[in-house]
């Protein structure tokens, strides 16, 4: 009992310790990324929030992340619906093809995207970054929405049609409310994928389109200022918020199904 607990604690430490190190570093009063810190201060957070570079990167990250989430959620949901409702052979192959961006090494995707964009002039544009991130995010949406659809009763669509609802209204009023938890989770994953993404950003963006990870990478190569640690802490906080959001969606969906359980069938 004690042994297993101790082991669990060790594993957790192993996972969290490297991340935890940036917290004290970000509050250092010194100029260098060293531990122990010479003293404590908020100066690197101040630096972060007053530097035009970091503020631009933050803005870019959110713009690209939100646009990616919107586009990938739309495409992924429509795609999942088509695969779920369509009557055709080779669905498994189609899903595997659509999921390749998840398994292909990101650097391969990044190089491919870089060359493809050079033909159409999308390198060094935010739109290009959004498109590239969408490619990486669609599989996550597709898979979460497909998983939710697997519990969807197709007869509901027939019922909606016999009530007089054309397909697009049946989708909005019947399908979407029932698969909303899966769609929301997919959207969060899509946002997180874009928000964390570095490799593609290295290839297709120039300083004007730098996102937070890209700006951190630039900072690491130029001069190791503790501002990077502050940025890292902020990124971690964002991720924690996203995770919390996802948990909230899941527990609410669970609550709804629990509510739907007939307490007293009479």
């Amino acid at each position: 009992m004690i042994v297993t607990r101790a082991f669990t604690v060790l594993v957790l430490l192993f996972l969290i310790a490297p991340i935890a190190v940036v917290f004290p570093l970000s509050f250092s009063s010194g100029e260098l990324l060293t531990l122990p810190t010479p003293g404590w201060s908020w100066r690197w957070y101040e630096d972060f929030f007053t530097s035009s570079k970091w503020l631009l990167a933050t803005r870019n990250s959110f713009v690209v992340g939100i646009a990616t989430a919107a586009l990938a959620t739309f495409l992924g949901t429509m795609c999942a619906l088509g695969i779920f409702l369509g009557r055709f052979r080779g669905k498994a192959i189609l899903i595997a093809l659509l999921s390749t961006p998840m398994v292909v090494p990101v650097v391969v995707t990044a190089i491919a995207v870089y060359f493809a964009f050079s033909f159409v002039g999308l390198n060094n544009t935010l739109a290009g970054l959004v498109l590239a991130h969408t490619v990486l995010s669609v599989p996550y949406v597709l898979i979460t929405v497909l998983a939710t659809l697997s519990t969807f009763d197709r007869n509901l669509l027939k019922a909606a049609a016999t009530c007089g609802a054309p397909p697009h209204i049946a989708f909005m009023r019947v399908v979407l409310p029932l698969i909303a938890p899966g769609v929301a989770t997919g959207a969060l994953f899509a946002f997180a994928t874009s928000f964390d993404e570095l490799v593609v950003a290295i290839f297709v963006s120039s300083p004007g389109q730098f996102t937070l990870p890209r700006q951190m990478y630039a900072g690491l190569r130029e001069f190791l200022s503790p501002t990077i640690a502050a940025a890292a802490v902020l990124l971690i906080l964002c991720s924690v918020l996203l995770l919390a959001g996802n948990e909230m969606i899941r527990s609410r969906a669970k609550l709804r199904t629990a509510e739907a359980d007939p307490a007293e069938p009479n």
């Binding site: 009763d153 007869n155 509901l156 027939k158 019922a159 909606a160 049609a161 016999t162 009530c163 007089g164 609802a165 054309p166 397909p167 209204i169 049946a170 009023r173 019947v174 409310p177 029932l178 509510e259 739907a260 359980d261 007939p262 307490a263 069938p265 009479n266």
Partner: protein, 357 residues
């Protein structure tokens, strides 16, 4: 009067070769309760789905009130439908479920609430309008589903084995409720089931399906008393069958020789000639134990007595068959036991000679 629905030479093949529905012709009278009855895979559900607009006929034409339905999508047909698993919208309350078809048909907002109330009163559930479907029992869900199909006043309502998931008692109660709603509203109903007693209870007419074809389309009593072929005879109600050969016929009466040489007097409707192979169909309740005055009198050995409360079923060995069933009042069976030698008899009119398929 012009029929409300017609099928003309309608066929359906899912794989391009096997005909699930084979050159179906059918005309539905306005206000009729028509049941499509048959075993699974007989084509009855496919026929219903083609009428609803969820399957396209491979060939042939379906019309609704004189209008060709080919290429008319399901949501524009104005046909209500009740599904086997209810298919209520789980995220909507009972009230929202009933309001949905009204909204889709452009009913003014002010009229929706009163029409929902009326529909709920019709199925006797006015107190449940704020519940979610999952908070209702199976019978209540099915009533809401029926109300949802009827609420916007469609002229035609389809029901696909709507009572299949309910227990026997509730099913019988719902059969009568649906029948009464049909009588009150005058709506045309096409009902699919594989339960022959359900079909006999509810229908104005029954179409018996087998192998993608209608074997017989008739009123329940006609179907039971005058089955058109051996399949209908065995599918509707209990039935003793003997294989034999037509020896002689005169008008609607005939003589048949069974496999073991026994001669039997029977009635016949089809245009078979002497020498043709036939199947004799005899209802268990037409059999009398004891001599009687009937022309058909055969020795029998009692194999089993099955007690069923109001009556008993006797399993007997008769003319080489060990599956001969006779239905007798429970009181008269009291003195018999297994192995007894009895005599069974029946009138010629109760025994129908049908073409062997």
């Amino acid at each position: 009067m012009e029929p409300i629905v017609t099928f003309e030479k309608v066929s359906k093949a899912y794989d391009g070769r096997t005909l699930v529905v084979n050159a179906l012709d059918l005309a539905l009278a306005r206000g009729e309760f028509l049941t499509l009855l048959g075993p699974s895979g007989s084509g009855k559900t496919t026929t219903l789905m083609m009428l609803a607009g969820f399957e396209d006929p491979t060939s042939g034409t379906i019309t609704l009130e004189g209008r060709r339905l080919n290429n008319v999508p399901a949501h524009k047909r104005g046909i209500g439908m009740v599904f086997q698993n209810y298919a209520l919208f789980p995220h909507m309350s009972v009230e929202e479920n009933l309001a949905f078809p009204l909204q889709m048909h452009g009913v003014p907002r002010s009229q929706i609430a009163p029409r929902v109330t009326r529909a709920l009163e019709m199925v006797r559930l006015p107190q449940l309008r704020d519940r979610k479907p999952a908070q209702l029992s199976g019978g209540q869900q099915q009533r809401v589903a029926v109300a949802r199909a009827l609420v916007y006043g469609p002229r035609l309502v389809l029901m696909d084995e709507p009572l299949g998931a309910l227990d026997k008692q509730l099913r019988e109660q719902m059969q009568l409720e649906i029948k009464h709603l049909h009588d009150e509203l005058g709506v045309t109903i096409v009902y699919v089931t594989h339960d022959q007693s359900e079909a006999l209870t509810m229908s104005d007419r029954i179409a018996v399906f087998h192998h993608g074809r209608i074997q017989q389309l008739a009123k329940p009593a006609d179907l039971y008393e005058h089955p058109a072929n051996a399949f209908v005879a065995s599918f509707i109600g209990e039935n003793n069958r003997f294989d034999g050969e037509l020896v002689a016929r005169e008008g609607s009466s005939c003589r048949v020789r069974l496999r073991d040489g026994t001669g039997v007097a029977a009635s016949i409707a089809s245009d078979l000639a002497a020498g043709a192979p036939v199947v004799l169909s005899l209802r268990p309740e037409s059999v009398t134990i004891g001599d009687g005055a009937a022309p058909n009198r055969l020795p029998a050995q009692l194999l089993e007595v099955i007690y069923l409360g109001d009556h008993c079923k006797l399993r007997l060995r008769v003319a080489g068959s060990e599956e001969f069933i006779a239905k007798v009042p429970a009181t008269s069976a009291a003195g018999w036991s297994r192995g007894d030698a009895l005599t069974v008899s029946w009138p010629a009119s109760a025994c129908i000679a049908l073409p062997a398929s």
